[in-house]
């Protein structure tokens, strides 16, 4: 089997993006715990959990909130493998790369846990000072664990909110909570039209594939992709003009109006009470 070329990889990426979005909408419609809650209450409580995650310096609190997201995902019928993959796939790549240097004593001095290298003499290199022994410190490890846990918990909360709330309901809830309406409208339209453009791009790639025999150079493929990007930009510009006219025609006057059909029920009140009690208890016991 030969390696996929540049264009084929892009095509697979486009198809995967659509699949992921369709799956996400599928989970949002399942009869699970979080799916059944009023999205306004959900946004407020998730925001409170995010704030608690951002301000705490205790790994126990972070771990508690992270475990809560896992329990909530299970209660909302989100497969655990799918959920954890979405969260943990990028963490080693981005957060790990940032946190890794912080575990060493030349970035975070402290009590050594493990000695890696013993140098003949300390080294000064630019702004860095390397002591005679390069060690992993307890303080550095603790900082890195807190950082990774904080990112993982925040990402888990965001992913969980998005997976269990239909996009349209999420936007309406934001509007009901007095988020700037034009911003919400732009978000909604971006999400709406991104799929149209993914479809156009996919068809362009397929049309190219149907006319190509044999292998082409990466340089040629890149040239083709950049030309198509220009075409897409032009197309999106024309489409945005037409959409604006369609909005004008239907009464748009620059003021976005939304209609919400939310009902705050006892279970929503119970959820809000539970979340705030959970945050209070976990912070109280961990301190």
């Amino acid at each position: 089997m030969h390696r996929k070329n540049f264009v084929a990889k892009t095509l697979t990426g486009l198809t995967e993006a659509v699949k992921r979005a369709v799956f996400a909408e599928h989970y949002a419609r399942l009869p699970g715990l979080l799916q059944g809650l009023d999205p306004r209450g959900k946004i407020l409580t998730f925001l409170a959990l995010l704030i608690a995650t951002a301000v705490t310096h205790r790994p126990e609190v972070l771990l508690g909130i992270y475990l809560l997201t896992v329990v909530l995902a299970l209660a909302s019928r989100i497969p655990l493998v799918f959920f954890t993959k979405r969260v943990w796939l990028f963490i080693p790549l981005f957060t790990g790369a940032i946190a890794l240097p912080a575990i060493f004593n030349f970035i975070t001095p402290g009590r050594p846990v493990f000695t890696l290298v013993t140098l003949a003499a300390p080294i000064n290199w630019g702004p860095f000072h390397f002591p005679g022994e390069i060690t992993i410190t307890e303080q550095g490890l603790r900082g890195a664990v807190i950082f990774i846990l904080r990112v993982a918990t925040s990402v888990s909360l965001s992913v969980l909110l998005i997976l269990t709330t239909e996009w349209a309901r999420l936007l309406r809830a934001l509007s009901a909570l007095h988020f700037p309406r034009v911003g919400i409208l732009i978000l909604g339209m971006t999400y709406r039209y991104i799929f149209l453009f993914i479809k156009v791009a996919e068809e362009m790639f397929l049309a190219r594939r149907s006319r190509i025999v044999g292998r082409t150079s990466t340089r040629e493929q890149q040239r083709w992709v950049s030309a198509r990007l220009g075409f897409m930009l032009n197309k999106s510009y024309n489409l945005s003009n037409e959409v604006y006219l369609a909005m004008l025609s239907r009464g748009w006057n620059g003021q976005a109006r939304f209609l919400d059909d939310f009902h705050f029920q006892w279970k929503d009140a119970a959820w809000v009470a539970f979340t705030f009690a959970f945050i209070f208890l976990i912070v109280f016991f961990a301190s």
Binding site: W167, Y191, R192, L245, A246, R250, G251
Partner: protein
Amino acid sequence: MNTPVFTVSDMSYTYPDGLTGLQEINFTVMPGENVVILGVNGSGKSTLLKIMDGLYFPSAGKINAFGEPLTERRLQDDEYAFAFRRRVGFLFQDPDVQLFSPTVWQEVAFSPLQMGLPKKEVAERANEALSALAIEKLRDRIPYQLSEGEKKKVALASLLALDPEVWLLDEPTANLDPRTQDWVIEFLLSLTDKGKTLIVAIHELEVAEVIAGQAYILGEDHRLAAQGRPKEILRDEELLLRANLLHRHRHFHADLEHRHPHRH
């Protein structure tokens, strides 16, 4: 005497890039009339509809709507704009342009909501429009999940929710399968039965013949080549050939060459 819905006088339109869109157009549309505007792609049909919907404005000449000048300045007044937009609905050729909301229900509710109708009435109108077109099951669907036929129905429902007096329709049967095409034609005929004014841009002569009371032909020179009863206009082969709506088709039966006009 009834006030005309539209009076177009010596109207021309030039695109911002300098290309000619329309040249010296004159016509009057009376309430309850069904007008088809025939012409090949690029003849200016869509531009003419956009001018009638107050989205583009003439470069020369003028257009009156319901007896009053339809100008950019007047449409900047919300009160006038809302009154005009409640009376005139526009179906865009590409349903993806028209369906810009996150869900079908929000799409259908968009116009009544923008016009400031009470929320209860907005919900009633949206539900009635969905049920009139038998698409209640699409209510929570996202536009990218719809077929072309479903998109067209949702776009029509979004206009029906406002129930305008005048329906401007740009190629309403384009890119549809035959069954949906028939359904759209039946729907348009039901609107004419209710006394609505229909102005339909189209290039399919067969469809034009079924729905039109009046036919206008836009030539490739962007001028009105003819106007009149469809029965007369659509039988005038020379006129249709000139407007490129017919072409001379040549084929062979065994060794015998056969030529006849062919409709697009």
